[in-house]
């Protein structure tokens, strides 16, 4: 930072800007911020979609949000400014670098020993190897040692126990060999093992990093504060955490509510999609309850706070999700299940080998060396790579097909799914309203022109849907006079001296708009949320895969019945978020493996609670965060495709385990017979790893 004359207090502030996705966005945000006085520096982090701003006292968080809004991005200050975003990859990078560096150098020295270096040269090389290897093993082995110790303390064992034991014993024996000037040192093998395994872990962690916890995004959806109407009639800004029940907030058009409350004056339409997943706005008036996180669409209203902070419906959903996520983390990954069988088998084998050689008359030293060779040769190098490599290759293939994988273990979970629950709005359907094509075609050119002109005056979702559909048909807008939008009623105007209107029909059961042109009959135009293009085929494919499907929606009985008929599925309507979660839990309790497909915040708890979950790319932030898979295209065929790819992946994982076992069947007898040298161990280890990687690469076409 430049030293500046005078006292300028510098502050930093981190804002989340979820809409950034390319270089253009980055430069727009950074330059948009730097244009303003008071902003000293701005640096975008595209990976975490955050911008760090250094500014002085003359600007605050609200100004920064406004500056970013001016260049077309929605921004929110991060709640916990001090907290760094969690990364699973970062702590593994340094151990991987150290292990790789040491492995390469020690291998170089080992090659000369294998090629016949003898006497003092061999001793020198062994000592240099020890000098490099011991600190490197101590540092790079930590992730394994810590995890193994944690498992042993709880009386269980995992893959890290045989790894840690193998590495530590190999290092200790090699040091002893070096000390006495022996022929064999195993430093190279131990380091190579650590390098391979850490590479597997880093691949795994990279996938997990993309799956960030949904809770932070959820809380940032609530407004940061509200304008509160004081007893003296003056407005003052109160932060969300300081809102108290009984206060009256004035919520402007386009603002999100910061707390739950009852409307005391005014009426407006509210976008509750964040909470219910239903895109259709709800009209609320005096006495109705409005929820935190909903968006005020039409007119300013006054709301008396009933629940604030941790008591709001939004915060309640956040808690439900958190609980579900913890519940799911108890899932035992297939590699750890394999380790539970593998580790005891290997250890007793090594022990029996030592005992066997002692009985056969070998010295204690000879028997120990052979026992260690067994431990090293069975050290699960290929096993450590078997799962992550397969999952990384498969997720790359799915990524190219427009499906993003957020968690590697999701492959394991979705492969065994036999029951699917699908949300309606935004999942089975496109999630945006489309006017009925037949009703539109029935309009005369004049009527269509009037409708387009009226619709273009309103930002109401239904008007915008009308505008989009009519513009797409090439309709020319009629010229109107006295156009006026009345919140909750419609758009009104005058055309050639006649009163015209595009309004909400009285007492219509379905979503529709009524067009009155003052001449001819009134036109009722139904507006529906269309089914995704190949929803039926996708569901048929899922059922062919042995997965029973049904609809689970928070929408009204009527709206759901229509979609259920089109999609030919059983349905359950009017389900609240906690009921969705309960239903998932109940199905899981009866032994089913449940796949949840949904997009809204209301699906969040169910997405987190299900064995596996998929969300469309148009989903709310919470839906995206809670789901294991996200598909970006309009077609629902992503569902059967994901299941198919996951099942193939699990097949390959099992083959990889098979390969590792076959390798052991050849290598272990050699080790028990005492025929394994460090050279053979190094070759066997890399050969089996390469084999596993090559087998996994077959998954590159898994998403076809």
């Amino acid at each position: 930072m430049n030293a500046q004359p005078g006292i300028v207090e510098e502050r930093t502030c981190v804002l989340a800007v979820p809409g950034m996705h390319c270089a253009g966005c980055m430069s727009k945000v950074e330059r948009g911020l730097l244009q303003h006085d008071g902003v000293i520096a701005a640096r975008v982090n595209l990976s975490s979609r955050m911008v760090t701003v250094t500014h002085d006292d003359s600007v605050g968080e609200d100004d920064l949000t406004r500056f970013i809004g001016a260049v077309g991005f929605e921004a929110q200050p991060r709640r916990n400014q001090a907290q760094k975003p969690y990364s699973a990859v970062k702590p593994l990078l340094a151990p991987l670098a150290v292990a790789a560096f040491a492995a390469m150098n020690v291998m170089l020295l080992s090659v000369s020993v294998w090629s016949g270096a003898e006497g003092s040269t061999r001793e020198l090389f062994h000592w240099i190897s020890a000098l490099i290897a011991l600190p490197a093993i101590g540092f790079a082995g930590q992730p394994f040692f810590r995890s193994a110790w944690g498992a042993l303390k709880h009386g269980t064992t995992n893959m890290d126990v045989p790894i840690s034991l193998g590495v530590i014993i190999a290092a200790a024996l090699s040091l002893y060999e070096t000390w006495v000037g022996g022929a064999h040192a195993w430093f190279d093998g131990a380091l190579m093992l650590l390098t391979f395994l850490l590479a597997g872990r880093v691949l795994d962690a990279m996938m997990r990093d993309k799956a960030r916890s949904g809770v932070e995004a959820l809380v940032s959806q609530a407004a940061r504060g509200a304008q509160v109407l004081g007893p003296d009639g003056k407005l003052s800004y109160v932060a969300a955490e300081d809102l108290q029940p009984g206060m009256v907030m004035r919520v402007a058009t386009g603002e999100r509510l910061a707390a739950d409350g009852e409307i005391v004056s005014g009426r407006s339409a509210f976008d509750q999609s964040l909470l219910t997943g239903e895109s259709h706005p709800v009209a609320l008036g005096k006495g109705d309850e409005a929820l935190a996180g909903t968006l005020n669409l039409e007119a300013p209203v006054d709301v008396r706070v009933s629940n604030a902070g941790r008591d709001t419906t939004l915060a309640e959903i956040a808690r439900l999700m958190e609980a579900s996520t913890q519940d799911r983390s108890r899932y035992v990954r297939i590699a750890d299940r394999a380790a539970r069988l593998y580790a005891p088998a290997v250890h007793s084998l090594a022990f029996l080998t030592v005992v066997g050689w002692l009985i056969a008359g070998a010295t204690v030293y000879e028997a120990l060396v052979i026992g260690v060779a067994v431990l090293i040769i069975t050290c699960p190098c290929a096993l450590g790579l078997a799962v992550p490599v397969a999952q990384v290759v498969a997720s790359g293939a799915l990524m190219r097909a427009g499906i993003m994988v957020k968690d590697g273990s999701a492959f394991e979970r979705i492969a065994s799914v036999d029951r699917a629950l699908l949300d309606k709005t935004g999942t089975l359907t496109m999630g945006r309203p489309v006017p009925d094509a037949i009703a539109l075609a029935a309009l005369s050119a004049e009527e269509a022109g009037i409708a387009l002109a009226l619709a273009s005056h309103s930002r109401h979702p239904l008007s915008r849907a009308m505008e989009r559909a009519l513009s797409a048909k090439g309709v020319a807008a009629a010229s109107l006079a006295d156009v006026q939008e009345r919140p909750g009623e419609g758009v009104f105007g005058t055309f050639a001296g006649r009163a015209v209107a595009l309004k909400r029909p009285e007492g219509s059961a379905t979503t529709a708009v009524l067009l009155q042109t003052g001449e001819g009959p009134d036109r009722l135009i139904p507006i529906t949320d269309a089914l995704r293009p190949d929803a039926r085929e996708a569901i048929a494919a899922l059922e062919a895969q042995g997965i029973e499907c049904s609809i689970l929606s928070g929408d009204s009985e009527k709206a759901v019945a229509e979609v259920a008929r089109q999609a030919d599925l059983p349905a359950k309507a009017g389900v609240r978020p906690e009921e969705k979660q309960a239903m998932v839990a109940q199905l899981r309790g009866s032994g089913r493996k449940v796949l949840m497909v949904g997009d809204g915040l209301n699906d969040g708890p169910a997405l987190a609670a299900a064995d596996a979950s998929i969300a469309p790319g148009s989903a709310s932030d919470v839906g995206l965060q809670a789901a294991d898979f996200v598909f970006v295209q309009d077609s629902l065929s992503a569902l059967p495709r994901t299941v198919r790819a996951a099942r193939k992946t699990m097949q390959v994982v099992k083959q990889n385990f098979g390969l590792a076992i076959v390798y052991n069947m050849f290598a272990v007898p050699l080790a028990i017979a005492g025929l394994v040298t460090p050279l053979i161990a190094a070759i066997a280890m890399s050969a089996s790893s390469l084999l596993v990687v090559a087998n996994s690469l077959r998954l590159a076409r898994a998403a076809r």
Partner: protein, 54 residues
């Protein structure tokens, strides 16, 4: 044999330098934003106004 006595320390030193450089990069947050680093090279330096239909 005498050559090795020179070459070994040199090789180790060069390797260690690489490792030190990596640690320096890690500590200076060079790996915080891999996506951003890849995209940043596409940002134009000059401040001419551009059309905004991206």
């Amino acid at each position: 044999m005498n050559g090795v006595l020179f070459l070994l320390p040199i090789a180790l030193l060069l390797g260690a330098l690489g490792l030190a450089a990596f640690f320096w990069a890690l500590r200076n947050n060079q790996f915080d934003d891999p996506d951003g680093a890849a995209a940043r090279i596409l940002i134009d330096d000059e401040d001419e106004p551009k059309d905004e239909d991206a």
